[in-house]
């Protein structure tokens, strides 16, 4: 269905000027416990223009989910130590008090989680759960909220939406559940949608349906999206900008085409080389050696140096600053030019 019929779903644009919607500056997140301090995010900076899609790519433990939760301050307050700044729209996220946070969450920033079954409450119908968000933020009547819920289910292309409104989460398939959580996230026209591995738990044939839906909704509604994934294929399908994360830092940042077609950081290069897609059966995959670093005790210098085939002694001495590459992307590597020269022809 077309969105022109219901302009009420267009987001309230937080900034109409040329200012980016999201600005993250030197963000650090540490988890402190008696035994150890985990440095989950170590100096992360990026900005996102309204209406753009940013993909954070990284493996487990690279800090991508922590970054997403920091953007909504969903991490446990007592154990988390933040540093740096996060601005979304006109709000300085890290200084908000509890009431302001509740106003922001769901209304201006909302999130789609990886596992749709655990993100939904099993004892309420799907319609009730969507309506709850609407009444909470917009103070409308239950009837109005249910009408809105129905409109949202149509928006996310749920077949037979009138019946599904009264369904419980367990009565829906995985793909439909994820559509419902997307509807819920969109219910208050957020200007920023965070999606944490939204398609990872879905089957391949359903994953592509949800990705296409997300892409269409993003274009129709014009919101900004930050999507976390470990799958380069997902990023290629939906991203305008791609940020590759390793050990709590962005190691490479640029447009999807620049990063995925012309990588200039050895880690991105390794990730692309270790995808099996179209690889010849008789040849080994060029896997990245070793395993990700221990976030409790990060090595000095470049965190990727111990696994890097391009590493030199200088790499372990100091952490490289982001440099601009010939293609216009940013990479944190001392030897970016050599890496770019070494990259194989990308099919």
């Amino acid at each position: 269905m077309s969105l022109n019929a219901s302009t009420s779903l267009l987001p309230v644009q937080a900034s109409t000027s040329g200012r980016p919607l999201v600005e993250v500056e030197d963000l650090t997140v540490k988890f402190v416990s008696r035994d150890a301090t985990v440095h989950a995010v170590n100096g992360l900076s990026f900005s996102l223009a309204p209406g753009q899609v940013l993909c954070l790519i990284g493996e487990s433990g690279s800090g991508k989910t922590v970054t997403m939760r920091a953007l909504m301050r969903l991490l446990p307050d007592k154990k988390t130590v933040y540093g740096g700044h996060i601005r979304v729209g006109s709000r300085e996220i890290l200084t908000l008090d509890k009431r302001e946070l509740m106003e922001t969450r769901g209304a201006e920033i909302s999130m789609v989680f990886q596992e749709p079954m655990t993100a939904l409450d099993p004892v309420y119908t799907v319609g009730d759960q969507i309506a709850e968000t609407v009444t909470r933020h917009e103070g409308c009547s239950r009837g109005q909220a249910m009408a809105r819920a129905l409109e949202l289910l149509k928006l996310v292309r749920v077949p037979l939406p009138e019946q599904r409104l009264k369904a419980y989460p367990h009565e829906l398939s995985g793909g439909l559940r994820q559509r419902v959580t997307i509807a819920m996230a969109l219910s208050c026209r957020p200007s920023l949608l965070l999606a944490d591995e939204p398609t990872t738990a879905l089957d391949a044939t359903v994953q592509i349906q949800v990705l296409i839906l997300l892409r269409k909704l993003q274009q129709e509604i014009g919101m900004s999206v930050i999507l976390v994934t470990h799958d380069l294929g997902v990023a290629a399908q939906i991203a305008d900008k791609v940020a590759v994360m390793y050990a709590g830092r962005i190691v490479e940042y640029g447009t999807a085409a620049e990063v995925l077609q012309h990588p200039s950081h050895p880690y991105t290069l390794g990730l692309l080389a270790s995808t099996v897609h179209g690889r010849h059966r008789d040849r080994d995959i060029e896997a990245i050696v070793g395993s990700p670093p221990d976030m409790r005790a990060l090595p000095p210098g470049c965190s990727f140096a111990p696994r890097c085939q391009f590493a030199r002694p200088a790499c372990s001495a100091a952490s490289p600053d982001p440099v601009m590459t010939s293609t216009g992307a940013f990479t944190r590597c001392f030897r970016a030019e050599e890496v770019a020269a070494a990259r194989p022809r990308v099919s």
């Binding site: 296409i212 997902v234 099996v276 395993s291 990700p292």
Partner: protein, 378 residues
Amino acid sequence: MAIPDSAIPRPGRPKLDTVPRGDPRDRGGKAQPLLIVENLTKHFPIRTGLLNRGRGAVQAVEDVSFVIMKGETLGVVGESGCGKSTLARLLMRLIPQTSGHLIFDGDPVEAMRGVSLKEFRRNVQMVFQDSASSLNPRLPVVDSIAFGPRAHGVKKATARAGAEELLGKVGLMPDLFGGRYPHELSGGQKQRVNIARALALHPRLLILDEAVSALDKSVAAQVLNLLRYLKRHLNLTYMFISHDLGVVQYISDRILVMYLGQIVEIGPADEICGQPKHPYTRALLASQLSTDPESRIETAPISGDPPSPVSPPPGCRFHTRCEFAEAVCAAKAPAFANWSEPGSHVARCHMEDPTSGHSRARVSGQSPAYHTRAIPAE
């Protein structure tokens, strides 16, 4: 009774479909399949209500027949709920089947004059998806690996030495890792331990159930390389189960595609991926994501989710999502022949059967018409 380690042939590169030279365990020769699966069916009854009466059944695996040849890797691919894992558990006899039987290297399993269950399980081992929950958290990994041989009567010292050697084979230094507990290892390391444990009894067939699905891409690539290395050096046969067609395509010689408990297509990997016959296989292939941002998929190859296996659609189980479905597809189930020919490429589809009455059914000797048709817009 364990086979002495000296019986395992040393490095060499057995060619596909050839029996490893000098493997004393081989009896039937290379033409005899290592495992024949005949009409395997598993229904899980659903019991509800006060009287615990039966109320239908989940038809998890329905009349599945195929062969696994010696030395090959058979890939099994399908979506969640299609019966892949149930199939693996049936092959291991971890759950009893409703009907059907297995023949291992010529001998019926668990029959009179056949191989005993203990003997069969020594020859067929399994690696599970969740590397953490499949290891005993209270045992150092070296003891976990030695557990199987101990249960089969190997002396403690011998079993331990064998376990340490295996740790080395899967790329973990025995001195450094042998004494560790599972929580002290990363996901990739745990999966290596699981592989070592599965190899401890010198099996001939290894069933890998989503063995790399829970791992990060870079670690999964390492484990896939390890699996290929071990297969060459230990004369193994793999059944590799995954939902990820890309991985299956990479590692398999032949591929078996499952949908709602049934085999819909089976054949050599290159043919399945190059000239798929079944519309479902084509949809799976078209759903693979390229890493090229320029080649984005604009319309989904098929819509909707798979139906529930409690009440599968009548006739062809795929007809509810198939763009070529006709009246005949809902009326009767397509035939599925030739499954026991290892080189054949067959699909369970009316369009493959010239006599089915489907308007797109292929004429004998010709490829069916749908190969040339573009996927219609949404």
